[in-house]
């Protein structure tokens, strides 16, 4: 049972990690907590629902399409909601992300209906057994997809010119502009990237839980915000660590305490870290 919970925790942690990365990228470049992240995850999930119905039932087709949809949604959101508010009070942008989250969830309910849609089960065969526990292929794929995205992002950030400009903008956007970096475009790109991560997480969740519904992103969104704070809101490695730790801790808590208290774990971590170590495990101190 213990091994099973740890495996479940790591699988779920992959989802939290992807969402936490999404929070970290946006926070890193814009100093903004994007509470619409959970809604972008939901949009990713719905994308896969329709891709499965009309295009292909292949998980990877859904992933690719949802990544693109997420990226574009991110660009639109950034243009509509945040660009005009940049440089205004930060609290206005923050509230705007909450507003957008509610708006997108309601819009989804109107367009797709409030009822839970069922996703097909894929890759349910046992990949291997560890300590008497079956690990199915889908779990393996989820962990691998998260891993590939994490490595890809690190390469992008540290080995490419676009990555260098994202890092420069996140450190000091005014000076980055003086260097010839198009700050607006860089921020849009980062936002798109973050949204694509959330979209991919949504697809994985849709297949893993076999269900899609309009408010499905709310709780994972808030929990992975906790995970991001846990790891350090500005750090991608921190977000990954926070995501996986939260996944495992949450599932172990189910084992030790009771499944009824599952959802509270993340928020206890959030409160404790905000009180004791607001920069998280791996985060840097940033000037506000």
């Amino acid at each position: 049972m213990l091994a099973q919970q740890i495996i479940n925790g790591i699988t779920q942690g992959s989802l939290f990690a992807l969402l936490a990365i999404s929070f970290a990228i946006v926070y890193g470049t814009l100093r903004l907590v994007n509470f619409a992240t959970g809604s972008l995850y939901m949009i990713g999930a719905y994308t896969s629902f329709y891709v499965v119905r009309h295009v292909s039932s292949n998980l990877f087709v859904s992933l690719a399409i949802a990544a693109v949809v997420g990226f574009v949604m991110g660009l639109i959101l950034e243009r509509l909601a945040f660009k005009s508010l940049r440089g205004v009070s930060r609290i206005a942008s923050l509230i705007c992300t909450i507003g957008f989250s509610l708006f997108l969830n309601e819009l989804a309910a109107v367009i797709f209906g409030r009822e839970t849609r069922v996703m097909p089960s894929v890759y349910t065969g046992t990949a291997f057994r560890i300590a008497g526990t079956n690990i199915i292929w889908l779990q393996v794929i989820m962990i691998l997809v998260a891993g590939v995205i994490v490595i890809g992002l690190q390469l992008l950030l540290f080995k490419t010119k676009m990555g260098l400009s994202i890092r420069a903008v996140s450190l000091d956007y005014k000076t980055a502009g003086l260097m010839g970096i198009n700050v607006d475009r860089t921020i849009s790109f980062a936002f798109g990237l973050a949204s694509a991560c959330a979209g991919v997480a949504g697809v994985l969740a849709a297949f893993y839980y076999n269900s899609v519904f309009p408010v499905m992103g709310t709780l994972p969104g808030l929990k992975s915000f906790s995970a991001a704070v846990f790891g350090g809101l500005t750090s991608i490695p921190g977000a990954i660590l926070g995501g996986y730790l939260l996944g495992v801790i949450e599932n172990l808590a189910v084992q030790v305490i009771s499944s009824g208290y599952r959802d509270i774990v993340g928020f206890i971590i959030l409160v404790v870290f905000l009180l004791v170590r607001p920069r998280g495990l791996l985060g840097r101190k940033i000037p506000m």
């Binding site: 010119k161 260098l164 450190l171 005014k174 502009g177 003086l178 260097m179 010839g180 198009n182």
Partner: protein
Amino acid sequence: MKVLDVQSLVVFYGKINALKGVSLSVEQGQFVTLIGANGAGKTTLLNTVTGVVEGTEGSVRYHGKEILNRYPHDIVRLGIAHVPEGRKIFPELTVEENMRIGAFIMKDRTRVQALLDRNYELFPRLAERRRQEGGTLSGGEQQMLAIARGLMSDPELILLDEPSLGLAPLLVEKIFEFIVEINRLGKSILLVEQNANLALQVAHYGYVMETGRVVREDSTDRLRSDDAIKNAYLGIG
């Protein structure tokens, strides 16, 4: 030939009139300094030239072409580098990454490498520390890095904002030697300084600003021997 030509520039910060019709120009290869007390509007002028701050009226011409209120990232492509006040290096990027980001507008890799080599030759101290994070450098080294980073875009005109700020006198002299050297290499320079003494010794031509206006302009030789300037800015007289 005028590289930079600012005419009757007016800038407001909200209701505060920071520049009240400033005119100033830099000739090809010329070393111009702009001196004045804190709050006179010197930094605002540089920021308006490079599009960081919006100008309300007047004109800024670069090689005769109007560039007022264009984006900072477009200005640097024209050949103007702005080394901002307070150095503003990227503390968590390495020295080399800071340098490379100065050459962000360059597409040609071999050209970037050539500029990198040339600037490391000019600032050997930076070459030694290329793998170190910018934030770990001393104040003087950070200023060198800020200037070297500015040079990485291979500009024709360099705007330098208070490079002496917070540095020990010996280091200030060193930095100024570099600036003179850069000017000798053919770059036009507009230097904003509170250290008027030093600035008027190295530059060819000087402007004096007070509360948003240019109140004097002349060759630095004449400004240096002017009694009013001596009293107000040079602390001698």
